[in-house]
């Protein structure tokens, strides 16, 4: 990669990752989790990071989210380097397990980011109500998270991130803990939101079907140490329907193509 290429089009490039490496120290041994990862994501693009568990895809996402400090390499969002430990403006993050605050009602959870930003109560309420409606949680605003099902909780967690209208969404296997049907419901919810808001999304998953349903492009990670193995364009028309898309021949074709490559990594990751 040439340096000038790297700064060439800051307008269309939202996320730029260059030569990212991460080595963890675990009980005195160095474990190389991520090796020399470079990619970029265009404005409004939906990219899935796919790979077997332990392939470092979540680590890459967490470095972009500033939760993990890279060993070396560079991360730019809108041309500005991110600072580890410091939230990047306009970047939203959705966790693998929902981290709704159990001591706040669903509405107060969703409104948390607005409260931090000092948004006036009346406007806050309006935006919370819109989010509750969108997530189908209009009857649960005053409930505490413990009263909600897993799918409802993850919808609320998604809304807590979306209410502040981030332009970049980082999602770490957000639907990993849900059953298949709830998961596909969530895919439709996310597709509707994304088609309207056109955020730039980086979505980590180990579920190929999920990646195909949602993404414009799939970046496939190899088994540890995590590197980018291949990249696939997913050319289904939009708007997509999470159920119908799985019935198309093109889906089967792409699935088979990527599955072959992913399968190799599963096997590699399995051997000690």
């Amino acid at each position: 990669m040439h340096a000038s290429q790297f700064v060439a089009s800051p307008v269309t490039r939202r996320i730029d990752v260059r030569g990212l490496c991460k080595t963890f120290q675990l009980a005195g041994t160095a474990i190389e989790a991520v090796r020399d990862v470079s990619f970029s994501v265009r404005r409004g693009e939906f990219v899935a990071l796919l790979g077997p568990s332990g392939s470092g895809k979540s680590t890459v996402l967490n470095m972009i989210a500033t939760l993990v400090k890279p060993t070396s390499g560079q991360i730019l969002i809108d041309g500005t380097p991110v600072v580890p430990g410091q939230a990047t403006p306009n970047v939203g993050y959705v966790f693998q397990r929902d981290t709704l605050f159990p001591w706040r009602t669903v509405a107060d959870n969703i409104g948390y980011g607005l409260q931090l930003a000092g948004v006036p109560v009346a406007e806050r309420k309006e935006r919370i109500d819109a989010c509750l409606m969108q997530a189908g949680l209009q009857d649960f605003g005053n409930a505490y998270p413990s009263a909600l099902s897993g799918g409802m909780r993850q919808r609320a967690a998604l809304m807590r991130t979306l209410v502040v209208e981030p332009q970049v969404l980082l999602m770490d296997e957000p639907f990993g803990a849900l059953d298949t049907h709830t998961k596909i419901d969530m895919h439709d919810v996310l597709l509707r939101i994304w088609e309207r808001e056109q955020q730039t999304v980086l979505f980590v998953t180990h579920d190929l079907g999920e990646a195909l349903t949602l993404a414009d492009r799939i970046i496939l990670f190899s088994a540890r140490p995590g590197r980018i193995k291949e990249s696939f364009e997913v050319d289904f028309a939009r708007p997509r329907n999470a159920v119908k898309i799985r019935e198309t021949p093109r889906y089967a074709e792409l699935f088979q193509l990527i599955w072959h490559s992913l399968g190799e990594e599963f096997i590699k990751g399995r051997s000690p």
Binding site: A65, T66, L67, G85, A87, P89, V91, G92, Y93, F95, R97, T99, F101, P102, W103, R104, T105, Y112, G113, L116, A117, A143, Y144, S146, A147, R160, T161, V164
Partner: protein, 291 residues
Amino acid sequence: MRRARRPGRTLAWQVLICLCILSIWQWGYDLHDRLPWLVPDLLDPYFISKPSDIFEHFLILSCLKSKLGVFNGWFNGEFGRCMARSENNLWIATAVTLKNTFFGFVTGVSSGFAAGLLLGRSDRLSAIFQPFITAVNSIPRIALAPIIVLAFGIGDTSKIVTSWIVVVFLVFFNTFEGARSIDEGFVNAARLLGASEWQITRTVVVPSTMAWVFASLTPAISFALIGVIVGEFIGAERGIGRLIIESEARAEASGMMVAVIVLMLVGVALSALIWRLQAYLLRWQQHNLAE
């Protein structure tokens, strides 16, 4: 299927047990001469008094009756004169003890909570202070009471300090543990939504430590009361502890029992207060909306 609970029946049992205990206390020793093998010497009213004497003594200590056993009138000023004459009547003693307990509790809880949060969230501070805390915590706090009375005098201050010192560690350790065991996922979620360190403390650290803090408050209120009473034992002009010491000097079991029963009622009332507060502040812990 489990049988439905019947609160009426539970209450009936409780009343029955109460009546049994009171009857044995009141009349049990009358059987001592006839059945010496059944009735222990400890039931002697000389040691433990008996309910009727205690009630009589309660009326006298609270200025409702004169020492001659006549009811003090409200309108003829007898009650008022008694109140003015006896420095440490039951009303004043209870008020003083309650007031000192309250201040000991409030200062102990707030300083223990603040210190627990501070050290719980800072690895460096907790490493520095850890040996000191272990050392001081190893001292039975009550052993410090005479020193405290010596230093702060026999007034209210020494009682508040004694109370504070027994409460502060309890709350400190619970808050500390709570602050240590915070789910970092919550902290990260808040940070990524743009929360500053102070906002994280206020909106994540404090609420998630609350359950731990409350776990320590019920014992803390008892401890606060213990601290005050011990302080009053060592040296005081007023208070329920002082009342007990005075009765003890006169070998008057009924007077001591009045004080003990008042303390019991005070303790129950204070604990109930904490429970109400807890039920309100930790209402999110109730899973009553599920399913």
